[in-house]
Point group: C2
Chain length 225, copies 2
């Protein structure tokens, strides 16, 4: 599966323009612009990751997820398919977006605001670390799927390549800080560092964090080791 | 109207216990505990302030707001009465809490998460500064009240007495920073300072900010000038 974004991300264009302008001017690049990659900060709204088995139970035998929108990480996409989540108090969230491709575990990532609305006491976990967490019922057009565990609030985190990790002087599993500017500026601490050769430099925060600072495409952000 | 909280706030008790313990030990108080007042941080969920005229239109001639819960600031209370807000796209928020007593303006304070749900582009304003903002329709058991302006996201702010302002070395209208600890720690900048003789030291943040850091009664907080 290959990502087919027609246009590069705004931050990528800015990064290259900045580098070219400083080179033309014969000036040294500022620290923030001298890294190997542009910094992209994206807000993850509530979503889920599903196994092939769960997709078939919910949407029918042989069903494959279809691409609604390619994400910044290579090969990852928001699917056209959405679900209804039924929580432990029978409260529901409808239009829960599925992210593809399928994984080898089922996981729902909600914000604390969602958790309060559902009456869920969400544990704060890194993605994939779902042992002992609460489950929920998922409802799709072809049936129900019972998740026995896997409903979490995902730890804020940053994806990066080994080159980016070297540049910032951080290691996988470590912490970084993200300063977000603008009229309701804030600084997010304890951002989990995730390193993989396939990762593009990208911070994922949730809707509570994004709305606390009203993150917009032109909001200045700085990643600090 | 007199506040009749049966128990002092947890932070007030902690403040006095800490001062007494350090005095017993003959040790100097740490900076945070040496101020004239304990630091209280509270999350303001969506709410509105109303004029007497609006209350009578919505709840009937001669109606007076009744106390549901006294707030930390002297004389302020969450009323038993709630409203339905109808936004510009006919989307609604029900159970919008009214805070009393009545004021000389009508103002609705929402989070950006609420604004997105309603399809409202909320302006960031200090309380009372509502000129040129969008309005909405309010619906109560006795009728409708049209607000021509006054729907805002309130600037995060801190109430304090002149003694507290002297201790921190800040002035009314200035900015402070609030560091919030815990597993999803963050630092809120640009907190508006509001000073009045009647104010108790209290930070007000909204639900997006409170949920971004999962603020709990025992989450460590530090106010920095």
């Amino acid at each position: 599966m290959v990502a087919t974004n027609a246009l590069p991300h705004r931050a990528v264009v800015e990064h290259f323009v900045r580098q070219a302008v400083y080179q033309r001017l014969g000036k040294p690049l500022p620290e923030r612009a001298s890294g190997p990659s542009p910094l992209v900060v994206n807000v993850s709204a509530r979503h889920c990751h599903l196994t092939l088995e769960a997709v078939e139970t919910l949407f029918g035998k042989g069903h494959q997820l279809t691409v609604h929108k390619w994400l910044y990480q290579e090969g990852q996409f928001a699917a056209k398919e959405t679900l209804t989540l039924i929580g432990p108090r029978s409260r529901v969230i409808s239009n829960l977006r599925i992210l593809g491709p399928c994984r080898n575990l089922n996981q729902v990532e909600l914000s604390y605001t969602d958790g309060i609305a559902l009456g869920f006491d969400l544990p704060l976990r890194s993605s994939g670390n779902i042992k002992g967490t609460l489950g929920c019922m998922l409802m799709g057009p072809a049936g129900f799927f019972k998740m026995s565990e896997g409903v979490i609030r995902a730890l804020r985190h940053v994806h990066m390549s080994p080159d980016d990790a070297d540049f910032y002087g951080v290691k996988a599993g470590g912490d970084m800080t993200l300063k977000i500017g603008g009229p309701c500026a804030l600084t997010l601490e304890k951002m989990l560092v995730r390193v993989d050769k396939s990762f593009k430099l990208e911070v994922h925060i949730d809707t509570d964090e994004g709305n606390a600072c009203n993150l917009q495409p032109d909001t200045p952000c700085e990643l600090i080791a």
